[in-house]
Symmetry: C2
């Protein structure tokens, strides 16, 4: 590099993929989108830049620190740090034009200036769905979420994953029953760590803030084991007289019932009383999703029910339920742990290579192939044949058609399957048939 | 609105669509993407935020004024203002891992703090393709661009559009031949306005800077009329002895020849000697595309050939050719002028409505419909039937299935076609068949 040139580099924490990785990433993104659309969620695409006042309406300390905020002219602007705040703005702003319950998905980049570290991103995709009610929202929507999660991860190619379900009302009602409601936030924060630090340490931490008999009741509660029905039965037999607890249990039963009607297999969902999900946002059903063999990767899809989406913008009460897939991080985890591989990903079905200077025929053939709905690259550069095949390898193309003098004279093409190495001399129509058939397989 | 609430609003110059508009927008975006992929372009998705040093490497006055630039910690950051600079960075940074010619598409948002006015956006989508050579790049690639433009606009549903093609070498060679090369930038700037101000005023402006005989030669040159072949013939018969002019003419002939081989119909492309496209970036073939009936909307797809993509980052010479569709502005123009309508756009195929409190059956039916690959919304809210049908109208759904007591007792569904108003009582399988068949049509 000579002097005066600027060294090309990408900012740390900003994912930038090679083409084959990008193809895989896009496939996952499109799969998620299609799955969301199958459930009737409408697309939104709100701006990435919003007025800082709007985005920070409800933000607390961490968000304020992490947000990308800047001036342009007289405007105090910021990059969105999630898709929920823009949704709250959107439903308030366009309330009169929307049908409720309003079901929307949004797949887009969000920005958080977190400390840079491997696998943590400052620009990352969130893939969100939410159902927003006008005043009220049926509990059955809470059961539709696991159905969407199930369908989405199946479509993504996964089989062994578990959607963990809990209800915050059960936890909060239980703490109130134990007369611990003032400490419930603290307790939830401790419980939330059970997967990481284990029940022993959770109990020790609990003992620092509550008396032993109550800590033991909580541990017994958290230790409830068995099938989904057995857990629900155990919760019922606790005979806890508390309205919130009872409401939460009723909701949980209803959610489990409808999850089954939506045909989510029993092995893919689980009542999990240890799931608490953050602290103040969620008010009812909560979800986390784990890949069974890679539970250590953390939840790959989370969400829950909230009472009041847009309280900072309107007095109108808008309860909702939603989930989010952090696609950028998920993609990183899956490829970094060799669960998914981007090797061999290709956009093109076939590469047409000229072996002579007669480019006309190559261009004609490329046109015919595209008319047959194949994805076609044309290489008519003056390069050595070896270089052209190296190029074919780089773009992972499955078929190469070469056109040399013999092919032109005999009105055929040479079709090479780059995976099997098989090479045939064929009429163009035969080659098209062969590729089209194999693509369909 | 009570005190203490923040008024929800979107920044001026930032497009935010209603769901039916967003559906149409997304369809256009996907059509463009599919068309680009059909030609073997690889997907890229570079960050929206980059180091300001990288983005401003070659920027001039306007860009510096318009760019969104800000500090975060010690970092001097900016939002990308186009997709070309990130591409230049990308090909330099990942040179060893890419195959050349490198063909990529990128569809993404870019940011320019322009003066806010109707139809001008500060956040807008660009849909770019470029082919980047390593050292050299065959002229046939310049012919592939119009083929992609043609295919893309056909797929977008247009029939009457014209891809205008010129070659900057012809213009610059011609000016050199007239010994006006020192004034060629100025002359180009005047010529560029011919569509807006007409030939008379162009000539007057030319007369202010060059002598009459030369202005007349230029006007004669610009006035060359006829078919594509006639224009090329007229250019040849000018007998201009200038190397650059001759090279440009040779290239133009080659491009026209291959455009025909790529089967772009004669009515959809045109040699247009008045197209100049900006001033310093493009060096050879240039393109602009007009909708025949709406030429006043300006070019809807432009681009050209350049000699040196990444000179600010590397000494390596990388010529390229590319085009760009400004999708946000195009969408605005098409809908604002009623050329396209977002009315009736829908995500869901069918809405399932419960008329009783028996939601189980509704959830079962929704599940069966989704298994049949239909896009299904379920409305199980406690709402009056009228409100539910109003909702159906709002989401523009084509079919509504209602489930009441009669339906449950007789094991049927009531299927209503919301467009024709036709309503039938059918077995679920019959309803699925009916919808699936009509969807395929």
């Amino acid at each position: 590099m000579k002097e005066g040139k600027i060294k090309p580099k990408t900012l740390p924490g900003f994912m930038e993929l090679l083409p084959n990785e990008q193809i895989l990433f896009n496939k996952m993104k499109e799969t998620i989108q299609k799955s969301y659309e199958k459930y009737g969620f409408l697309p939104l695409n709100t701006p990435i830049v919003e007025s800082a006042e709007i985005l920070l309406a409800k933000a607390g300390g961490e968000t304020e620190k992490q947000i990308y905020r800047f001036q342009k002219g007289d405007n105090d602007l910021a990059l969105r740090f999630d898709l929920t705040v823009p949704l709250a703005k959107y439903v308030t702003q366009y309330y009169d034009k929307l049908g409720f319950p309003f079901k929307r998905y949004q797949i887009g980049k969000v920005y958080r200036g977190e400390k840079a570290q491997r696998g943590r991103y400052r620009e990352f995709y969130q893939c969100d769905i939410d159902i927003i009610g006008d005043g009220k929202l049926s509990i059955i929507n809470d059961a539709e979420m696991p159905s969407v999660i199930y369908n989405t991860f199946k479509e993504l190619g996964f089989d062994e994953f578990t959607i963990c379900i809990n209800n915050r009302k059960i936890l909060n009602g239980f703490f109130t029953y134990l007369e611990l409601n003032e400490k419930s936030d603290e307790i939830l924060r401790i419980i939330d760590k059970i997967e990481k630090i284990g029940p022993g340490r959770v109990k020790n931490e609990l003992l620092e803030i509550i008396e032993e008999s109550k800590a033991e009741e909580i541990m017994r509660f958290l230790g409830i084991e068995g099938s989904n029905d057995e857990k629900i039965k155990a919760l019922e037999s606790l005979n806890i007289i508390n309205e919130l607890f009872e409401e939460g249990l009723r909701e949980l039963k209803e959610v489990v019932k409808f999850i089954r009607i939506f045909e989510v297999p029993e092995k893919n969902f689980k009542v999990d009383l240890t799931i608490a999900r953050g602290l103040d946002y969620y008010t009812g059903t909560v979800y986390e999703t784990f890949l069974d063999k890679y539970k250590n990767l953390g939840s790959v899809c989370s969400g829950g029910r909230y009472d009041n989406l847009a309280e900072y913008y309107t007095d109108r009460k808008m309860p909702g339920v939603g989930i989010s897939i952090g696609l950028t991080r998920l993609f990183f985890l899956l490829t970094d742990n060799n669960i998914l591989s981007s090797e061999g990903q290709s956009i093109s079905d076939v590469l047409v290579i000229s072996m002579t200077d007669d480019y006309d025929i190559c261009a004609e053939i490329a046109t015919k192939l595209r008319e047959a709905n194949l994805k076609v690259q044309l290489n008519i550069e003056k390069q050595k044949l070896g270089k052209k095949f190296k190029y074919a390898d780089k773009i992972n193309v499955k078929y190469v058609i070469t056109i040399g003098e013999d092919e032109i004279n005999n009105n055929v093409v040479t079709l090479k399957n780059m995976i099997t190495g098989e090479q045939q001399s064929l009429k163009l129509e035969e080659a098209i048939n062969k590729m089209t058939k194999e693509e369909i397989k």
